[in-house]
């Protein structure tokens, strides 16, 4: 087994109880969402570099070309900006593109089309033109992916009006949020995380949607609020469960969508706990952590009993080597330690 596969396989998640419903893997849940969308709506098409190759984007696009044909599910030229623009034009004219990328890093080549065109067209045309498109990518981490294959770029996009950004953390959400993203009439970015791809969860077989812009409590508690999304939230939840044994009662909010941001749920929790830890897979500076931290300082200062803590990435490029990575990425231990400091302050 290759080293990267082994690493993802070695990750341990809480196993779902099959009595609660059908158990499905994360990548399969996304695959199911795409299949349902393709089946329901002939205007949906799925494309990107490698969607039809044997690895099928972590399994997310597996068998889709066989089922729906080469016209609707196809490999693309390595033309990130051109294909992003093509998606914008297709979306403006009746189609619903789903443009897949193995890594968010590749989307950086297409910022002109994403930021300056996709996000703006509806506004610039005074509401006449809609741009219903999904841009999907899986954040990498580990096995030497390094500075150019590990970046989590949501922080660069959170300030762009007109975009929506979805970051699921469970197989259930991955399916329901993907269906919501495809049915939304705006450009929606869906950032998955490579390390969640083999996580199992309870996933209903039928069509369902998880609403965009609404967070959810993953754990109720009274001492500290952890807020975040995607794999960072998973680590936060693991830390919270661990700290329960020490008598620290942590509330965990999964944002699911970081733009539009569910401010209400954060405020509601903060009123109770008075302590806020923001976790993110991206850089702390100027990103999701910074934005939520600023909101707390600006709007909810009276609720705060202690300073807001950010747990994102340091202001450093992603290293490639295994040892350096251990210093670079936050883990359960570091999140737990931050929470202990906050509570015992």
């Amino acid at each position: 087994m290759p080293w990267d596969e082994g690493l993802v396989n070695s990750l341990v998640y809480d196993a779902p109880d099959p009595k609660e419903g059908r158990v499905l893997g994360y990548a399969q849940a996304v695959n199911e969402a795409l299949e349902i969308a393709l089946k329901q709506d002939p205007s949906v098409f799925v494309f990107g570099q490698g969607v039809d190759d044997p690895t099928a984007m972590f399994g997310v696009t597996k068998d889709l070309q066989d089922k729906f044909g080469e016209k609707r599910v196809f490999d693309s030229p390595l033309s990130e900006e051109g294909m992003m623009g093509m998606s914008v034009g297709a979306a403006m004219n009746g189609l619903r593109p789903v443009f897949m990328h193995n890594r968010p890093d590749f989307i950086l080549l297409a910022f002109n089309q994403l930021v300056t065109h996709a996000a703006k067209m509806h506004y610039m045309d005074n509401g006449l033109t809609k741009v219903p498109m999904v841009v999907w990518a899986a954040i990498g981490r580990g096995w030497g992916s390094g500075a150019q294959h590990s970046q989590a770029i949501q922080g660069l996009l959170i300030g762009v009006p007109g975009l929506k950004i979805v970051m699921p953390s469970t197989p259930y959400d991955a399916k329901g949020l993907m269906l919501s993203a495809i049915l939304d009439n705006n450009p929606v970015l869906v950032f998955e995380h490579r390390w969640l791809m083999k996580k199992d969860g309870i996933v209903p077989e039928d069509f369902y949607r998880v609403p965009l812009g609404k967070g959810i409590y993953r754990r109720r508690g009274k001492d500290v609020t952890i807020v975040g999304a995607s794999h960072a939230l998973e680590l936060g939840l693991q830390a919270a469960n661990k700290l329960a044994a020490e008598g620290i009662d942590v509330e965990v909010i999964d944002l699911r969508t970081i733009k539009p941001l569910d401010e209400e749920i954060i405020h509601e929790s903060l009123k109770k706990t008075g302590r806020l830890v923001v976790v993110d897979t991206g850089w702390s500076m100027g990103g999701v952590c910074a934005e939520i931290g600023c909101l707390a300082a600006e709007k909810w200062f009276d609720s705060l009993k202690a300073p807001v803590r950010r747990i994102g990435l340091p202001d450093i490029p992603h290293p490639a080597g295994y040892t350096l990575e251990q210093f670079f990425y936050p883990d359960v231990k570091r999140i737990s330690q931050t929470i202990r400091e906050l509570v015992h302050q």
Partner: protein, 341 residues
């Protein structure tokens, strides 16, 4: 020094083709070009008054490309434009009042004062999108053509781009994809030799743009951009090919911008190009050469032109009055349409 010469042959030899056309059609082409010229000159004349708080990119000297190209299109066909939108918009059937309201930042502008001169759009006439980022609209138009192909729609998409756009990677990417998928699209490249004030030879090696485009695997032709009929015929062939499933076409059309890149007046005196070069091209002005051609064929005379110009001027004045009397947006208008429902 004249750096970029006119290499065309004007209307020499075109007399023989005249009987292929209805006189009314030939006269309409002239009227449409004259209309754009008069409207642009009036915009230019009033620009100093500062009621139009918008950048302008005048199309004076480049009327034949817009009019000739759009004459080959139906209303259902889509046109995508760059920042130099006035000619495209008017030739495609855009509403003059809505255009001038847009330039005067009024709420009843064609895009509610969100675009200004650089972003004229009107979906109702197939003026489907424009971008002020050079080449920005080229992949988008390619996506529109992809949508037509996928949905089995019969419309053809045309996208206007400048010579400098061909230096952008996005155009290469779009041409590659259009050829790969055999999309129903026409790439119409107006080569006016200057990107703002940067001449072509400092930006591209010695080559012909249409030959470069042909290497992507599509028919590519060079057409005299001062000759409205030549443009029309090239477009007609390209559109017919696209409609028959024959895929994309690239058209390079050398033209000359008689005015500055932006704003009113010519800026040749700043030294980036020789005034003699502009003057040489003004001798093959698309409006005047075509007028002379029609006149020699007995289809129009000075008096008929004067009547035509008078009608256009009256329409233009009425549209300006309408724009100046139109309401401004309110603060509430700022917040609408950030997201679609």
């Amino acid at each position: 020094m004249i750096r970029y010469d006119y290499h065309g042959t004007g209307f020499a030899g075109w007399q023989e083709k005249l009987n292929h056309y209805e006189p009314a059609f030939l006269l309409k082409l002239f009227r449409d070009m004259l209309r754009i010229r008069i409207i642009e000159e009036e915009i230019e004349r009033r620009y100093w008054q500062d009621h139009m708080k918008s950048p302008i990119h005048l199309v004076i000297g480049q009327e034949a490309t817009s009019v000739g190209a759009c004459a080959a299109l139906t209303r259902a066909d889509l046109l995508y434009a760059s920042h130099r939108t006035h000619g495209n918009y008017l030739a495609k059937g855009g509403d003059l009042k809505a255009m001038l309201c847009e330039m005067h930042c009024r709420i009843n502008g064609c895009v509610g004062s969100r675009g200004g001169s650089m972003h004229l759009m009107d979906k109702s006439v197939g003026m489907a999108g424009s971008s002020a980022i050079v080449a920005g609209v080229v992949p988008i138009a390619t996506g529109a053509a992809f949508a037509a192909q996928m949905q089995d729609e019969s419309y053809v998409t045309t996208v206007f781009l400048g010579d400098a756009a061909t230096e952008e990677g996005a155009v290469s990417e779009a041409l590659n994809f259009a050829a790969l998928k055999q999309l129903p699209i026409v790439y119409f490249c107006e080569n006016n030799f200057y990107s703002v004030q940067s001449p072509l030879h400092t930006r591209q090696p010695q080559r012909e743009i249409y030959k470069w485009a042909a290497s992507y695997g599509m028919p590519s032709v060079l057409v005299d951009g001062t000759n409205v009929l030549a443009v029309y015929e090239a477009m007609q062939a390209a559109v017919a090919r696209a409609k028959q499933g024959g895929g994309p076409t690239f058209i390079e059309s050398p033209v000359y911008r008689f005015r500055a890149h932006g704003g009113a007046g010519d800026d040749s005196k700043t030294g980036y190009r020789d005034i003699a070069e502009r003057e040489a091209w003004q001798k093959v002005c698309p409006v005047e050469t075509y007028f002379a051609f029609l006149k020699s064929a007995g289809l129009i005379d000075e008096q008929a032109r004067k009547v035509m110009a008078g009608e256009i001027m009256a329409e233009t004045m009425e549209a300006f009055d309408f724009a100046l009397a139109s309401p401004n947006p309110t603060e509430a208008d700022l917040y609408t349409h950030v997201y679609a429902d």
